[in-house]
């Protein structure tokens, strides 16, 4: 991104027809730590990388429960994300109060997008510097949306935002066609593996990621660390044993883990053994 004379105000167009302030806001999203989402026909899973400012501090909360049937993961300016989550929670509560039924996800997303658009057309405001992955379940099924600071929103089968999200996107692109019919547990595993892609070398452990699920008959909730660690163990154990270095060769490490996954008595289904990274 370059500094130029058309980027001072959000209400100033560039000759090329761009609003630079909005684009800079989207840059802020790319700088935040990664968040990913994927959905099947009946479940949606959100995952994020827990980044702490320093070793002494705790990590920032990036996944918020909005209602029983909607949750959101954010990347970018966490403060903006927190404020928008509060707005979303309010909207859901008000809708429930008036209509005695859960707010359809598509409606909420449009309201959010309109709210974001306002900030791109007022000289005294600035765009929200946060990208939101909205995961929800309503009468029309499971949905995953991405809301960006520009006020646009898109629906996705799977998506990743934030820093090093391209690695996760590549992983998801290879596998997304299978997601619609995936079981809930497979979806969660895929989410963790997608997060692992963004870590690029760092050891994957439950402290470094947060996973949340919403599905048919399952209200939105964050999985506790113990459960996540168990799932990680089922496909990480072998790789760790073979190569204590932080960057094992991904393909061989995964294949070995896959073989040992089926043999190991971790209570995992045979699916885990048959889920290699490289198809």
């Amino acid at each position: 991104m370059f500094r130029n004379q058309y980027d001072t105000d959000v209400t100033t167009w560039s000759p090329a027809g761009r609003l630079f302030q909005v684009e800079y806001a989207m840059e802020a999203v790319k700088q935040g730590s990664a968040a990913i989402g994927l959905r099947s026909k009946t479940h949606v899973v959100l995952g994020c990388v827990n980044k702490a400012n320093s070793e002494l501090s705790s990590h920032q909360k990036k996944i918020f429960e909005v209602d029983d049937h909607i949750g959101v993961a954010i990347a970018g300016l966490t403060a903006d994300g927190r404020v928008l989550s509060r707005y979303m929670r309010n909207e859901c509560i008000n809708y429930s109060f008036t209509y005695e039924s859960p707010l359809p996800v598509g409606r909420l997303v449009v309201q959010l997008a309109d709210k974001a658009q306002v900030c791109t057309q007022r000289s005294w405001k600035r765009p929200y510097g946060v990208g939101l992955l909205v995961a929800g379940l309503d009468e029309s099924g499971a949905h995953l949306y991405y809301n960006c600071p520009s006020g646009n929103y898109f629906e996705y089968q799977a998506f990743a935002i934030g820093s090093r999200s391209q690695a996760a996107k590549t992983y998801l692109e290879r596998r997304f066609e299978n997601f619609t019919d995936s079981s809930r547990d497979d979806l969660v595993k895929d989410a963790i593996m997608a997060i692992r892609e963004t870590l690029q070398g760092e050891t994957l452990k439950s402290a470094i990621c947060t996973i949340a699920v919403v599905g048919a008959g399952e209200p939105f909730h964050v999985l506790d660390q113990g459960t996540v660690q168990q799932i990680i163990d089922t496909f990480e154990t072998a790789a760790e044993q073979e190569d204590p270095a932080t960057e094992p060769d991904a393909a061989t490490g995964q294949e070995a883990a896959a073989e040992q996954g089926t043999a190991a008595d971790h209570g995992g289904s045979t699916d885990e053994g048959a889920a290699p990274m490289d198809i």
């Binding site: 429960e65 509060r86 929670r89 509560i93 008000n94 429930s96 109060f97």
Partner: protein
């Protein structure tokens, strides 16, 4: 919360409190304790002091330590923590009976004694059923069906009992 009175106000009040409870859970990451909800209910009722919710309430639940508590209200939010209470139609018949059975220590006694009723859960439920069956006999508005909500450390459970249908 058990409420008696004008049903539309009762429903509106319960929805209002449910929404506030949800907000509390989002903000504090935990359920509201009964004393907290008691204060909220009182404030909500008094807020409409000059156009009240026509609702006579009894609030029951667990406090932060897991002990049971009961709060009784009038229509504009005056409330008190008690060991037992009844409101609404039939309360004039029920309350003296509860006083007799539960032998509440007089508030005039010193040192102040706890108002917790010394009953086991099964005994308490039985007492409730007896009390409503009796009230149904003489109060024309009481009857048809009884819903009992039991709250304890394991969670919340509901029981139903038929009452005289006349």
């Amino acid at each position: 919360m058990a409420s008696s009175g004008f049903q539309a106000d009762v429903k509106a009040l319960q929805k209002h409190l449910a929404a506030r409870h949800l907000i509390y859970q989002h903000q504090h990451n935990k359920q509201m304790s009964c004393p907290a909800m008691a204060q909220l209910l009182s404030n909500t009722l008094y807020y409409k002091r000059f156009f009240p919710y026509y609702s006579f309430n009894v609030l029951g639940g667990l406090d932060n330590e897991g002990k049971g508590c009961v709060f009784t209200y009038d229509a504009v939010g005056s409330y008190e923590k008690v060991g037992y209470s009844s409101q609404g139609s039939g309360s004039t018949l029920i309350m003296p009976f509860l006083d007799n059975q539960l032998k509440s220590p007089s508030p005039l006694l010193l040192p102040a004694q706890d108002a917790v009723t010394p009953l086991a859960e099964a005994e308490a439920i039985d007492l409730v059923k007896t009390v409503f069956a009796s009230a149904s006999e003489r109060d024309i508005y009481t009857g048809d069906k009884l819903e009992i909500v039991v709250i304890n450390a394991d969670g919340i459970r509901r029981e139903y009992m038929d009452l005289r249908k006349d």
